[in-house]
């Protein structure tokens, strides 16, 4: 008999980091955390309320971060939980970002809104291992100042890498500029676009325009990696909700090469 993949496993909330009113990071226990890759996801399971697929936004020994937007039935309930409470999770699911691919290369990361969560693990890794990259540039966009996620992380990362933060609306400060992420893509300093790699994560429209802008800088589409999202339910490639044609976002992705993403017609 195969394992019962549907049975979730108990996990304790160690810390809750409140970024905004409706976006919190839950730091939770998971024994084998170090084998989890950024952008893999877990089903956060609140018995009697349901499950919600959430990507891993941070990885530490025995601990996983899940940055969660309060947006539906399950997440609304989750926001009533406190540090020390336990809930259930199952995973990890999906392919996640393959860090090996980006090592020794120039890396561009373009992320918008909650799209920053799945790439946070990648940024964090290279921030700690700057010797393993030939240069990393991050463009992160948020709607407004109240929506900024991982503010202290960004401040920390800024010490070691090229970080551009931008808001859709507001007044520019030292911390961030104003405008869409695509505005900053032509300013990227890429020495060899032919070998550089890019990661894009965020809302569908942002992904599309960011990819286009990157391509215009000479970036080959084959080197762009996108974190896709769809309605997910089982996380196991079985329930069918996230299928787009012959692709299961949960099992084949959620990270896809942009050449594949372009073919996805819902």
């Amino acid at each position: 008999m195969p394992n019962n993949d549907y049975i979730p496993i108990r996990s304790e909330i160690r810390e809750i980091i409140r970024h905004t009113a409706h976006e919190w990071t839950f730091r939770m226990t998971w024994a084998d955390a170090l084998s989890v890759k950024p952008s893999q996801f877990f089903e956060i399971s609140l018995p009697k309320y349901g499950e919600s697929p959430i990507s891993v936004s941070g990885i530490a020994p025995g601990l996983l971060d899940f940055t969660i937007r309060k947006i539906g039935h399950v997440t609304n309930e989750l926001f009533n939980y406190k540090e020390g409470d336990t809930l259930y999770i199952r995973g990890p699911y999906g392919n996640g970002f393959d860090l090996e691919r980006y090592k020794g290369k120039e890396l561009v990361i373009v992320a918008g809104g909650t799209g920053v969560s799945p790439v946070r693990g990648v940024i964090e890794y290279f921030a700690d291992h700057m010797d393993e990259t030939c240069g990393i540039q991050v463009i992160a966009g948020f709607r407004d100042a109240n929506e900024i996620l991982f503010r202290t992380d960004f401040a920390k990362w800024r010490q070691v890498m090229d970080i551009t933060m931008t808001l859709d609306t507001g007044e520019p400060t030292e911390e961030y500029g104003i405008g869409l992420v695509t505005k900053y893509i032509p300013d990227l300093k890429i020495h060899d676009p032919a070998t550089a790699e890019a990661i894009i994560a965020g809302p569908p429209a942002m992904i599309k325009f960011a990819a286009k802008a990157l391509a215009e800088t000479g970036f080959p589409e084959e080197h762009m990696w996108v974190d896709e999202s769809r309605r997910m339910c089982c996380g196991l490639g079985k329930c069918g909700h996230c299928r787009v044609n012959d692709t299961y976002i949960c099992a084949d992705g959620p990270v896809f090469n942009y050449t594949t993403v372009k073919q996805l017609s819902d």
Partner: protein, 339 residues
């Protein structure tokens, strides 16, 4: 080994099987149709072969025995999770050749991939199949064109012959049982159809570009997105999860999964309001291409087995086989526009 057996003999054999298992077959639910005075042929336990309906196609397929419309995955209390007691008896399923080919599809979906489905396997491992020979095709059948009209991976085949029954047994454990009930050996080849009134042809050059065809627009209006096509389909396996707590004891509850339909509202809705395939025509395209194109890209064989149930049950008289036959023209339309 082929056998000839009387009705009494077959029934005695079924009773033998029922000692350790449950025998399920298409039976007539009188008054079970949606309209007054109409019946519904669907699966239920049987004890007598006379109650098995051979001359009519079942409204729903055997699929519900392996993937029930609603299935409890586990129960939870405040601090425990308990699986329901699984069915351990054998399940002996009567089905036609098209449906037996559907089993291969279900196995591919549920047993395949990195994460075989635990609950499917729990049921699947105890299943045995009895092939119901088809002497002639029903109007909407198109098994021959889908290559599903002949099956040989059964435990037993059965079909009426005069007053008695012809059976072909491939299950060594069942042979002595058949002999004991007075079965006389005779060569038996299960009946199968070689031609169908409904024909389908899937264009060789079919690809996702057909999504751009105007073909689908017609179904924006015609299709009511009720999901009957999916729920009657022997190869539809999609499901949704549900968590609930009991009203009389809110500290306990269960998680279950229920069949889902890619035609019904909400299938691809995301928390936060993003909706994919809002138009019914787009859903139709998504379903049809999965059945006769993209499933094959992944697995090497078509998902659709040509049982024709989706045609039979559509309240709006939308014919799946007709859509498949329009794909050729749709491809032409799309490629002409591309040029």
């Amino acid at each position: 080994m082929g056998f000839e057996l009387s009705t009494g003999g077959v029934n005695a054999f079924l009773r033998e099987l029922a000692r350790t298992g449950r025998v399920v077959a298409p039976v007539r639910f009188e008054g079970g149709g949606a309209f007054t005075g109409t019946d519904c042929v669907r699966y239920a336990e049987v004890t007598d072969i006379e109650n098995v309906v051979f001359d009519e196609k079942s409204r729903f397929s055997f699929r519900e025995l392996l993937l029930p419309p609603s299935q409890t995955l586990f129960y939870f209390t405040e601090d425990s999770i308990t699986e329901p007691t699984p069915e351990t008896r054998d399940t002996i399923i009567f089905l036609r050749s098209c449906d037996l080919h559907a089993v291969k599809r279900l196995d591919e979906i549920c047993r395949g991939g990195a994460n075989p489905d635990y609950y499917y396997e729990q049921r699947r491992k105890n299943v045995k199949f009895v092939l119901m020979g088809c002497k002639k095709a029903f109007d909407s059948c198109f098994c021959v064109d889908m290559g599903t009209n002949i099956s040989d991976n059964y435990d037993l085949s059965i079909e009426p012959d005069g007053d008695g029954w012809h059976l072909d047994c491939k299950n060594a454990e069942w042979e002595p049982l058949l002999r004991a009930q007075g079965g006389t050996e005779t060569p038996v080849t299960p009946a199968h159809v070689t031609e169908t009134k409904t024909r389908v042809s899937i264009p060789d050059d079919l690809d996702f570009s057909v999504a751009k065809s105007k073909l689908w627009d017609e179904y924006d209006k015609r299709c009511i997105a009720c999901g009957r096509c999916n729920f009657s389909c022997p190869t539809c396996t999609c499901f949704s999860m549900q968590d609930l707590f009991y009203q009389d004891n809110p500290k306990t509850g269960e998680r279950r999964r229920v069949l889902a339909s890619c035609m019904v509202d909400g299938f691809s809705d995301m928390a936060g309001g993003v909706v994919y395939r809002k138009n019914h025509g787009a859903r139709m395209r998504y379903k049809v291409l999965h059945k006769v194109y993209d499933f094959k890209k992944r697995s090497g064989f078509h998902m659709c087995v040509g049982c024709g149930r989706c045609d039979d049950v559509c309240p709006e008289y939308i014919s799946f086989s007709h859509i498949v036959n329009r794909l050729g023209d749709a491809m032409k339309e799309v490629s002409e526009h591309a040029e």
